[in-house]
């Protein structure tokens, strides 16, 4: 039975977003429009039912205090990389990276606190929980669980999910023989027959959500490192948690097997065509790029082999070079960060120049490419030599790494070789600067 207060698209809950950078803001906007069927609507500060505040923003505390002072009764969602314990009863915390299902869960929880705790939303989250049950994870998120026992907070009997969320639904995995990470059908000791079309391929064999708590004895040490970790978190990211990682893995499999591979998840179908080095996407590129910063669970993604005769439909969707797509996606996902595990002190080089006339420009990209194709130097040395902010190097590194152009010299290896001389000033440095300046529309 539905309630007149159900949050249907005709009566969306208004959400104001504060302190978030433009790209994250746009992502959220698209998320509400596409995956929430407009059940939430971004609105101005004064009209909003719920507020979201990015507590990692500059002057976030000031922003929060001012906002809370103005709207003492409004439910607020605080998002941050580091845990925050809300002091106000109408506040909830959501850890970054923001996962769609957790965002929905938090918003639904907060929506129940709007208008004196009377629930308004139609239970999008319930659908997600139902699907989690199918995969065996079972328990609803703690926030939801904590509400279910409270009077007035019980969930409604809800209609079925809108079709778009069916795409999000995880597909149960088939049992498979253990294989190296992400590589399906690559043989092993005994040759196997060609993998059948339609078989689901595991990309990330171990669920990332299954990380165990560290033993008690390690916790003190971890606590001591907390500050360092917090700093690291600001420039490291895990490509595998995002669309970027899924496409990279799927493309690697497609190339190894020389098969067209389909990738399904919280997006419309994507097909990787290794023969032509292209990617076919049914969705608009803008929508896909907007998903770049949204953490995606492995359970929500399926990868299948396609019939070798498959070809892109003549109408709908678009084809583009996979390097071009991945480069742009990596730049958008990295946002000035580098993949976790990157050794900042290991000398880096490029196997060859990226096709920079057709790739999304990265600030100082030409200079970085010129340096790394000739001088293997570490990320930190490169920043010093080029005298640029590390975030530009990090973006370039992440994008070049995504398309497989980055090579590393081990530091030990480097010890046996004479150190590379740093690039010298060119004898016509002044002239070159004038030409560059002229090409860029200055100095004539």
């Amino acid at each position: 039975m539905s309630s007149p207060l159900d949050n249907d698209p005709a009566h969306p809950l208004r959400v104001t977003v504060l302190g978030m950078e433009q790209r994250a803001y746009s992502t959220l906007e698209l998320f509400f429009q596409n995956l929430c069927q407009n059940r939430y609507l971004i609105s101005g500060d004064g009209q909003a039912d719920i507020s979201i505040i990015d507590m990692d923003a500059a002057r976030a505390n000031e922003l929060y205090n001012e906002h809370r002072g103005r709207y003492p009764d409004r439910p607020i969602l605080l998002v941050s990389l580091t845990e925050i314990r809300p002091e106000h009863e109408k506040e909830r915390f959501l850890a970054k990276p923001i996962r769609p299902e957790m965002l929905l869960s938090s918003l639904e929880e907060l929506s129940r606190l709007v208008h004196n705790g009377v629930p308004r939303t139609r239970g999008l989250q319930e659908g997600v929980e139902h699907r989690e049950g199918e995969t065996g994870t079972g328990q609803p998120p703690p926030e939801v669980e904590s509400l279910q026992g409270k009077p007035g907070n019980q969930l409604h009997t809800l209609p079925s999910l809108p079709p778009v969320l069916d795409v999000v639904a995880p597909t149960p995995r088939r049992k498979q023989k253990p294989r190296p990470a992400g590589v399906a059908g690559d043989g092993g000791e005994t040759p196997e027959p060609a993998p059948p079309t339609g078989e689901i391929i595991p990309l990330f064999p171990r669920s990332r959500s299954a990380k165990q708590d560290p033993p008690e004895s390690d916790r003190t040490e971890l606590a001591e490192d907390e500050e360092r970790e917090r700093h690291k978190a600001s420039f490291l990211y895990e490509p595998d948690e995002y669309l970027q990682g899924y496409i990279q893995q799927a493309y690697r499999i497609a190339r190894e097997e020389r098969r067209n591979i389909s990738l399904k998840g919280p997006w419309r179908p994507i097909v990787l065509l290794p023969e032509s080095r292209e990617i076919w996407v049914e969705q608009s590129h803008a929508h896909l790029y907007a998903l770049s910063n949204m953490a995606i669970r492995p359970e929500d993604v399926t990868v299948t082999r396609l019939d070798p005769q498959w070809s892109p439909p003549k109408e709908g969707g678009s084809l583009l070079p996979v390097d071009q797509f991945l480069w742009k996606l990596a730049v958008r996902t990295a946002r000035g960060r580098i993949p976790a595990g990157t050794d900042l002190r290991a000398p880096v080089y490029l196997y060859h120049w990226p096709n920079l006339s057709r790739l999304l420009p990265v600030q100082h990209g030409l200079r970085i490419a010129a340096l790394w194709t000739r001088y293997p130097v570490s990320l930190m040395e490169a920043a010093t030599i080029l005298n640029i902010r590390p975030k530009y190097l990090f973006s370039f590194y992440s994008a070049a790494s995504a398309i497989g152009l980055i090579g590393h010299k081990s530091r030990t290896e480097g010890d046996h070789e004479p150190p590379q001389p740093p690039p010298q000033q060119h004898e016509h440095q002044g002239l070159l600067r004038k030409i560059l300046s002229r090409l860029r529309g200055r100095g004539r």
């Binding site: 032509s276 080095r277 490029l350 196997y351 060859h352 120049w353 096709n355 920079l356 006339s357 057709r358 030409l366 200079r367 490419a369 010129a370 340096l371 194709t373 000739r374 001088y375 030599i385 080029l386 005298n387 690039p423 000033q425 060119h426 016509h428 440095q429 002239l431 070159l432 600067r433 004038k434 030409i435 560059l436 300046s437 002229r438 090409l439 860029r440 200055r442 100095g443 004539r444």
Partner: protein, 182 residues
């Protein structure tokens, strides 16, 4: 290199886009020495450059960068040494629709070997929208056999932006720590 007069050389086979590239960035309408093609070239285009293309870029302080396009036909190769003297670098344009673009690549790398050794090279591959094969990766493989790791991009010679990216890459190859003052 004489003070105040600097040269940038564009080379490549017939029809690769040298004239178009110079036209795309020159301050003044380029001087061309095109003539009606009477040899095999006429199968490719109606006119061809028999001596050279010439354009200019005026620099700060009244200096000029002279843009020279070499004639594409091999029989004019005697001019290449004269043209490259004092040049700051070489832009090589290759046409991906030619029967054997790698033969062109090897030919021009060998022809300009001395010049490339003392300066720098950047390569633009044209017509890739009409013919995607060979892909750029195959060019890179060819370059490795020459021990060269140079800028190599897909370009449309008529697009100013593409030619500028190519020249900028050449400049940064000459001096990676080159920086334009803000």
């Amino acid at each position: 290199m004489s003070e105040g007069n600097y040269k940038l050389i564009f080379t490549g086979p017939v029809g690769a886009g040298k004239s178009s590239a110079i036209r795309a960035i020159s301050d003044t309408p380029p001087v061309t020495t095109d003539a009606t093609a009477t040899d095999m070239t006429q199968n490719i285009k109606e006119t061809t450059t028999v001596a050279m293309d010439y354009g200019t870029l005026q620099l700060e302080g009244g200096e000029f960068l002279h843009l020279y396009g070499t004639p594409g036909q091999e029989r004019f190769s005697f001019m290449w040494d004269i043209l490259t003297k004092g040049g700051i670098g070489l832009i090589l344009l290759l046409d991906n629709t030619r029967p054997d673009p790698f033969h062109d690549l090897r030919f021009f790398l060998n022809s300009f070997k001395g010049f490339i050794t003392t300066t720098q090279l950047a390569i633009g591959v044209t017509q890739m929208d009409r013919c995607a094969n060979p892909p750029l990766e195959k060019y890179h493989e060819q370059m490795r056999s020459f021990g060269l790791k140079v800028p190599l991009f897909e370009v449309d010679a008529r697009r100013r932006r593409d030619i500028i990216v190519l020249i900028e890459a050449l400049l940064f190859s000459l001096a990676p720590n080159l920086k334009v003052s803000a």
